[in-house]
């Protein structure tokens, strides 16, 4: 039986899943096999970051067909944001920035990214309204980044959370009218999936500051674009954001019962905890926001 009789469907799967996973696998093999021996142990998270960044840029190019520079539409900024943040925070991984400098760079990055992505929307609003949206978006984005920067550097739980939320974002994006955003979210999930598989069964794996920056930039951009340029409802957006905090209760419970909060069990439980709000978001989308027919 031919599961993929449609050339369009086959290319969608290649662009979204197969090529990004291959780039991650190849990049990790190359990085771990060669670069790690050549450089210091600090290059391990850098290998993951470079691999994930390259895979996402590859996926974007395959999905959208080109990089547009200078950017014309809001989504054209996504690869620029990935390519821009990766080297800055790679230097952080190699040299170890102070907390203040890192925070300052992260804050500046989310503000610039929010302005670049939302500028076409903000200029249509009154100044106060635009400022409130910009502040709220930047604050949420920065909070998520700081949270994952603390956790994703040390264990796989955060990687699993980000994978589940990315996959959920992909599904909801497609259902609410943007296959393009669905593909970008799906590619991020595939990249994280390949990265977790490569490292399996180790649960203490390093995404690094740069890897976290790439993932948070991509996911944040897709969620913002879904909310402001597509038809992703606010409550669905909120549920996906709630899912990002899945490892908070899991860590709390495991610590309470004196179990390893960073072990393989934590990874699985975090995945399940993230899946609940994501599944609710998908179900609500299907029930309330899914029009009939197949476009």
């Amino acid at each position: 039986m031919n599961l993929f009789p449609s050339a369009v469907m086959t290319s969608l799967l290649l662009q979204t899943v197969v090529w990004p996973m291959l780039v991650v696998t190849g990049g990790m093999a190359l990085g771990v096999g060669a670069l790690r021996r050549m450089l210091s142990s600090r290059t391990l998270p850098l290998t993951g970051a470079l691999t994930i960044g390259t895979a996402m840029l590859t996926a974007y190019y395959l999905i959208y067909g080109k990089f547009t520079f200078p950017p014309v539409q809001a989504l054209d900024w996504i690869p620029m944001l990935i390519a821009g943040t990766l080297p800055v925070f790679a230097i952080d991984d190699l040299t170890g920035f102070g907390k203040g400098l890192r925070f300052g760079l992260q804050a500046a990055t989310v503000i610039v990214a929010a302005v670049l992505l939302l500028q076409p929307v903000l200029v249509q609003l009154r100044l106060v309204q635009a400022a409130m949206i910009l502040i709220a978006v930047s604050a949420l984005w920065l909070a998520a980044w700081i949270y994952f920067d603390r956790h994703a550097r040390h264990n796989a739980n955060s990687g699993m959370t980000l994978l589940i939320v990315s996959a959920g974002t992909a599904l909801v994006s497609v259902l609410t009218g943007s296959t393009l955003l669905g593909q970008l979210g799906g590619a991020l999930a595939a990249v994280l999936g390949a990265w977790l598989l490569w490292n399996w069964p180790r649960s203490h794996i390093l995404l690094g500051h740069a890897g976290t920056a790439v993932v948070v930039m991509t996911l944040g951009s897709v969620l913002l674009a879904g909310r402001f340029y597509s038809a992703m409802p606010l409550r669905i957006n909120a549920l996906l954001l709630v899912a990002l905090t899945a490892n908070v209760p899991v860590t709390f419970i495991l610590q309470r019962y004196r179990r390893n909060p960073d072990g393989p069990l934590a990874v699985v439980l975090t995945g399940v905890a993230a899946l609940l709000p994501v599944a609710l978001a998908v179900v609500l989308t299907v029930l309330y926001y899914l029009p009939q027919g197949d476009g």
């Binding site: 369009v8 290319s11 539409q73 009218g177 393009l180 340029y229 597509s230 476009g295």
Partner: protein, 210 residues
């Protein structure tokens, strides 16, 4: 006596009806005229009549069919006198969110970031730069089409339909302009393997002389 009165009334009625028929004959005969193209002088400045104008497009779908969509709202003005090409000008604005492909979900998909990105680029516009008449009623209309934040020159095949008075005391003229554009030229690159790059665009405009 009574018969004479009746005959007299009958005669008067017949005469009356004959006079009425004679008076209304031109109107009745006009109503029976078949539809015909008005060949009046098209010179002048015209405001586009939005309810008799539209932009439609045809795009290939999955390599198996051609889908037709349209933009329901249009505004602008034109002056297309074939006797004086130097004065010719066409200016058209189309709100992207007036798109209709006869299916709500597809409209939503097309208006989103995958294709038109109507939030960021709410208007499509065309401003002419040159008109070359090849005959009294046909020519080439060249101008700048702004779509999806990109402005590019496009040449339409222009056909004048007619010009003449309307029933409400005004004066109208109408045109059809057709062209084929590539959406990738306007930065709309997504899913070129499922939705064709080439898009046939047709602009039907009817204007009321100012």
């Amino acid at each position: 006596m009574k018969t004479a009165i009746i005959q007299s009334r009958f005669t008067r009625a017949m005469v009356g009806l004959s006079v009425l028929a004679a008076l209304t004959f031109p109107v009745l005969s006009a109503a029976a005229d078949p539809y015909h193209i008005q060949t009046g002088n098209p010179a002048g400045n015209y405001q586009i009549d939005p309810v008799h104008s539209m932009v439609s497009f045809t795009v290939g779908h999955l390599g198996v069919s051609e889908l037709v969509g349209r933009f329901d709202t249009i505004s602008g003005s034109f002056s297309l006198d074939s006797a004086d090409s130097t004065q010719a000008r066409v200016s058209v604005q189309v709100p992207i969110d007036s798109l209709d492909t006869n299916f709500a979900q597809r409209n939503k998909d097309l208006l989103g970031p995958d294709y038109f990105n109507a939030t960021q680029f709410p208007t499509m516009s065309f401003v002419s730069t040159k008109v070359q008449w090849q005959s009294r009623n046909a020519g080439l209309l060249t101008g700048n089409l702004t779509l999806h934040g990109v402005t590019r020159p496009v040449t339409f095949n222009l056909r004048r339909i007619g010009a003449g008075p309307d029933p409400w005391g005004g004066y109208r003229s109408g045109y059809i302009a057709t062209a084929t554009i590539k959406r990738s030229d306007f930065g709309m690159n997504y899913m070129l393997n499922g939705i064709s790059d080439s898009i046939a665009v047709q602009l039907n405009i009817e204007g009321k002389r100012q």
